[in-house]
């Protein structure tokens, strides 16, 4: 291998390392932010059917203990979807109380059953501390 060929090879290696470093260090995009579904024992004193909380690297869906149903979970996911369109990763906290909703089109087949299974898994989780919201249950939402 000539000297110039070795320089070229080294340059290619360095470019690959640099590219990989950029990819690994990139801030969490909307699609790899964790989504956590939480049912606190005591829901915040806001007139809301559900609340979406957005932090720097995760999104949290707060469902009321007496209203943690498929509709509440579905509208929370919908509200989160819209929030991510507006801002993929906010730099400050965002709280999005959903004060009300109306169904304007039927859900895709099987989706309600899938969300129902998510809530069943959540119900089986142990009660634990959830920071400023006191105690409750939570689960990681795994999407489709």
């Amino acid at each position: 291998m000539t000297y110039s060929e070795r320089i070229a090879a080294l340059t290619r290696h360095l470019l690959v390392v640099a590219l990989a470093s950029i990819l690994i260090a990139a801030p969490a995009s909307a699609q790899n932010r964790a989504v956590i579904v939480v049912v606190p024992d005591a829901f915040p004193a806001i007139d809301a059917r559900a609340i979406v909380l957005r932090e720097r690297d995760r999104d949290v869906l707060l469902l009321p203990p007496d209203g943690a149903d498929v509709d509440a979970l579905a509208v929370s996911l919908d509200a989160l979807r819209r929030a991510r369109q507006r801002e993929a990763s906010p730099s400050v906290g965002e709280m999005i109380p959903i004060t009300g909703f109306a169904v304007t089109a039927e859900a895709a087949p099987g989706e309600r059953a899938r969300l129902s299974r998510v809530l069943e898994r959540l119900e089986r989780q142990p009660t634990t501390s959830i920071g400023d919201f006191g105690s409750g249950r939570w689960i990681l939402y795994r999407g489709r």
Binding site: R81, F101, V103, R137
Partner: protein
């Protein structure tokens, strides 16, 4: 050069796969699989944080501003008005509801005597008579006690909701109207002669949604992800302390589908 390709490709594949590994559990901030404590920070929301509040000092001879179409002329104290014309009084209190391009709301107004006037109005939004949300607005104006001279003054406020929905919505408003005399205007200290009255508007409606397709496609998309008309607030806060930065007014929207999950 051909001898360099396999190691180069392997290195690239390893690094790219490592960078593009799925979001769980390696995504930053992702909690472990087993349920443990969560360190959530709650925004420190006070009851009035979602109300648009304005408190102003008013010059004794200020020209009254009014919403378009409202006459702020001379008014006579009538039999239905509250108070005493020599103390604080409320004259012609009224609430109206309305739709405008890109929004809906309710306005509350009244004339008053007394050096402190206050009106709080709430707009209630519904879809096909199902309540979706409410937005409140409050305005207080105070005049220096010694310079008031019992003038009849006008006050109003508007509670506005943003919406991009064009059919099926209705809005109704209600207001609490107040007037009083206060030595230390606007503080509630040494207040007397306070009077209060409530009013409500009729229901104002958009046109009915003609078809299910129209209901679904109002937001501009006919995809099956567009399932809900949502009313939400947006509150931004400090992630360390929970201190509220800003609370946006109520927004009702059908949104568009973008499969991010």
């Amino acid at each position: 050069m051909s001898r360099m390709k396999p190691p180069l490709l392997c290195a690239l594949a390893v690094l790219v796969v490592g960078a593009c590994e799925g979001p769980l559990p390696s995504a930053p901030g992702a909690p472990p699989e087993v349920s443990g404590p969560l360190d959530l920070v709650a925004p420190r929301l006070e009851p009035n944080d979602l109300t648009q509040v304005v408190r102003v000092g008013r010059e004794p001879n200020a020209i009254d501003e009014a919403p378009a179409g409202v006459d702020v002329g001379d008014l006579e104290f009538g039999d239905d008005d509250v108070g005493d014309e020599y103390f604080a009084s409320i004259v012609d209190p009224h609430t109206s509801a309305y739709f405008v391009p890109g929004g809906a709301g309710a306005a509350g107004r009244h004339h008053y005597t007394g050096n402190v006037g206050r009106v709080r109005t709430t707009a209630h939004v519904a879809f096909q008579d199902m309540h979706l949300g409410s937005q409140s607005s409050e305005r207080q104006e105070n005049t220096p006690f010694l310079l008031d001279f019992g003038q009849l003054k006008f006050i109003w406020t508007g509670a506005d909701v943003n919406t991009d929905h064009e059919c099926g919505l209705s809005v109704q408003g209600n207001s609490v109207h107040e007037a009083s005399w206060e030595f230390f205007q606007g503080t509630g200290v040494s207040a007397w002669g306070k009077v209060s009255q409530s009013t409500g508007s009729g229901v104002v409606r958009q046109r009915d949604c003609a078809t299910r397709t129209e209901t679904r496609s109002v937001g501009g998309s006919t995809s099956d992800g567009e399932r809900y008309l949502l009313c939400t607030y947006l509150i931004t806060y400090d992630l360390e302390t929970g201190q509220i930065y800003r609370a946006e007014r109520l927004f009702c929207s059908t949104g568009v589908d973008d499969d991010l999950f």
